[in-house]
């Protein structure tokens, strides 16, 4: 800018250019994601992506990480993560209607991990429940790699009329800039820069600037903003996130090609003696910034009052392209808004890490074959990565709004849209171990998992959002994992026609115990033309035939759940996802549901065929029995392979569906040349697989329906 920046200007740059805001390392790589599509109304670049879903309706959605804040203060970290993503959706003008959370923790054998897990779940619920947006799905996994560095990714979906879409770009010289919501305090000063540091002993002491969420204020903010938008009182709207006023104002100005002047002494403050730079970068929660025509300002402030919110005119839109900070009538800082919005980018060389070649390859021959498969199945079902998530989503209000058609517990959640036949489905997935063993394949498999989960419900996947949780990109391994996972995800999204319309990056997820598994998480939404035509994994009728569709029997133990849980090994390279088959079979299953031919479907994923069958039994409370003949077939692993591989091996591109016998011919016709096999029948009071497995429903339940939390855990506190 041709002169030495002042301290205030420096702090603006430092917060804006930190990874958290500027995507220094990831921006060039993100270009690989497809982001176009016939349904896309808004791709990356706005507060959230938006896709059209029919009848004049659109969905705005985005996923965001709050990993570091949650590692330091789990309850508030998770809560403010939820609050933040809700405001991104609100900024598009949409009413937030669904939340999902994607979580990672170290093993629950460690007290600190139990504490983080408990308080994060409480934080997600504490905020989401109070603000009245149902938490309808998510996922959670436990692994050593996340000890001390939990992952907390929150996704929000908003519903909006296509015509009512809002944008954040400021316009109209002389228009006023209004700050709505709560007062500004010293919350998270330098939090934005902190969020991209590695966690160290020292960062533990940064606690004093922890941000505390106020879901009550957020609820008022949602209703107030939607009312203002409904009455056409706003020119543009933007949430305040990392870097507070600085990023919001500069982004609004830059995208509108105008300037914005902020008078810091007009900002309502919570504490005295705040410096202008503190006001500019404060990350106080529950605030939105709006551009308003002068003659509407008074009405806007009145509305804020009606909703018990603080509202104040804090600046104006100017024709110069600068973000100007004014204090007591004096300009104390001037920065071209574009400078702030466009941080410099780094491109790095991609070098294959040596660890990938050191991962022991898997030769099943030297794996001992289990004696007792009943025990193996129960051990799998009770494992913290496979057991029921009820003890988590039972703490989340997943029904408020009265639109939840398929609640948590199925492969994805299904929501209706009142006054239409339309519905949408949403799922969040991540595959950290797979991405560690094979970054590119794992990246693709992450997208595949979400695509499959939506298809199981009968929804047509239309677009995705993502959260890229990685270690340090300044280390070759970290950068390789980032680049390769993105490549794999991009290929899958390309193949599936599901553009990535929004996302978020969280790098430097490392502690003195090392880096996390590379863990991109994907949130995908799908459309149901008739929301009543959906399926669930639950068996519904005695006597139904159970059919495996796809590659069920060509499964592998490499990097599988079975290998880790039962054989205590993390080895091998999981099979390369077959994108063509995944799409073909997913689309087929979806058509079967849409045509009303099947109402029972589940994908074969972690834990393989036996676990998938057990999940369907547990969901429906009806047993299943392998027909004797076929059991033999399976006992030698669907054609000469190991039994454990046949039961618990993973591969993907495979589903289990159930139909009444009288529709079997119809189904076979519909399946045409697609590999399938009628393997079992719904009936009995447990799971029976030939002479291999025979476990009663009660034992299945006891193993699966585990409470992942200590009973009567006290609130808050800081344990460990």
């Amino acid at each position: 800018m041709g002169r030495a920046p002042s301290y205030l200007e420096l702090s603006l740059f430092s917060v804006m250019w930190s990874e958290h805001c500027g995507y220094k390392n990831s921006r060039p790589l993100l270009k690989r994601f497809p982001n176009q599509g016939r349904r896309v109304l808004q791709g990356p670049g706005e507060n959230a992506g938006v896709v059209e879903i029919g009848d004049g309706w659109a969905l705005a959605f985005k996923m965001e990480s709050h990993n570091h804040p949650s590692a330091v203060e789990p309850y508030e970290g998770a809560a403010t993560g939820v609050g933040g993503i809700i405001r991104d959706i609100l900024a598009m003008g949409a009413r937030p209607v669904a939340l999902l959370d994607s979580l990672r923790f170290g093993p629950l054998s460690e007290e600190r991990n139990r504490y983080l897990f408990r308080e994060v779940v409480r934080g997600v619920g504490g905020y989401g429940n109070a603000v009245g947006v149902p938490t309808v799905g998510g996922e959670v996994e436990f692994a050593d790699a996340y000890s001390g560095n939990p992952l907390v990714n929150a996704m929000c979906i908003g519903l909006i009329r296509v015509d009512d879409l809002m944008r954040s770009s400021a316009s109209g010289e002389g228009n006023l800039v209004v700050l709505l919501g709560s007062k500004t305090g010293r919350d998270g000063i330098h939090g934005a820069t902190f969020a991209s540091d590695e966690l160290t002993e020292e960062s533990e002491s940064k606690r004093s600037n922890v941000q505390v969420g106020d879901p009550f204020c957020e609820k008022m903010l949602i209703e107030c903003c939607l009312k203002l938008l409904g009455e056409g009182m706003l020119v543009s709207l933007q949430d305040l996130g990392a870097a507070g006023l600085t990023s919001s104002a500069s982004e609004m100005a830059a995208s509108g090609g105008v300037g914005i002047e902020i008078e810091t002494d007009r900002v309502p403050l919570r504490e005295g003696g705040m410096e202008p730079w503190e006001v500019m970068i404060s990350e106080s929660q529950e605030r939105m910034l709006a551009v308003v025509e002068p003659d509407k300002a008074e009405a806007v402030l009145k509305m804020a009052e009606r909703y018990e919110l603080v509202g104040a005119v804090v600046g104006r839109v100017a024709d110069h392209g600068d973000l100007r900070v004014i204090h007591e009538g004096e300009v104390v800082g001037t920065v071209p808004a574009g400078y702030l919005a466009d941080a410099p980018v780094y491109e790095r060389e991609v070098v294959r890490p040596t660890y990938l070649d050191e991962i022991p390859s898997l030769s099943p021959e030297d794996l001992p074959q289990p004696e007792n498969y009943n025990e193996v199945l129960l051990k799998m079902l009770s494992h913290s990565n496979l057991c029921s998530r009820r003890s988590i989503y039972g703490q989340y209000d997943h029904e408020v709004g009265t639109d939840t058609v398929v609640p948590p517990g199925a492969d994805a959640a299904v929501m209706r849209i009142k006054g239409t036949k339309l519905g949408f489905a949403a799922a969040a997935d991540g595959r950290g171990r797979h991405c560690y063993l094979d970054p590119r394949g794992g990246g693709a498999a992450t997208v595949v998992e979400a695509y499959r989960n939506l298809s199981c419900l009968g929804a047509e996947p239309v677009a995705a959002t993502d959260c890229l949780n990685f270690g340090s990109p300044e280390k070759p391994d970290g950068y390789y994992q980032l680049a390769e996972c993105i490549q794999g995800m991009a290929q899958a999204c390309e193949a599936f026609g599901t553009p990535v319309v929004s996302g978020n990056v969280s790098l430097f997820n490392e502690t003195d115990r090392g880096a996390i598994y590379p863990t991109p998480t994907v949130g995908m939404v799908g459309v149901l033309k008739d929301v009543n035509r959906h399926s669930t994994p639950a068996f519904k009728r005695e006597g139904d035939m159970v059919v495996v569709i796809g590659k069920g029997w060509r499964s592998s133990l490499a990097g599988s759940e079975y290998l880790e849980v039962v054989q205590a090994r993390i080895a091998g390279r999981p099979p390369e996802p077959d994108l063509t088959a995944e799409k073909e079979y997913s689309d087929l299953v979806r058509r079967l549901v849409a045509d009303g031919l099947i109402d029972t479907a589940h994908d074969i994923s972690s834990g393989g065929e036996a676990v998938a069958l057990a999940e369907m039994v547990l969901a429906g409370g009806l047993g299943v029995e392998y027909e004797r003949v076929k059991a033999g077939l399976l006992a030698d692993g669907h054609g000469g392979r190991r039994t454990d591989m046949a039961l618990f091996g993973e591969n993907g591109a495979s589903f289990l569906v159930a139909v009444p016998e009288e529709r079997w011919d119809e189904l076979q016709k519909a399946l045409g040349g697609v590999p399938h096999d009628s393997i079992a029948r719904v009936g009995g009071d447990g799971i029976k697989i030939g002479n291999l497995i025979d476990v009663g429903l009660d034992d299945l339940r006891e193993a699966y329906e585990r409470d992942l939390f200590e009973t009567h855990a006290p609130e808050g506190g800081h344990i460990g």
């Binding site: 203060e73 305090g185 606690r207 004093s208 922890v210 505390v212 929660q285 506190g717 800081h718 344990i719």
Partner: protein, 78 residues
Amino acid sequence: MPETLKIRVLVRPKAGILDPQGEAVRSALPALGFGGVKTVHVGRLIELEVESTDDVDAMCRRLLSNPSIEEYEWEVVS
């Protein structure tokens, strides 16, 4: 059996940290006909009966308060 001590622990939000409860109560008071209240802060009161005070401070740090957002004080009341 050893006679016990009654301990009173007061936990309150750290200075500068947002206190949504206190704020909500304060802004509600005038409507309820209670004027002249300048500030309100809401915290926790914990009362313990213990055999010795040795562990009390550790309990406050590790379980009864959340040092990242709260401060505490404790005293023997009897």
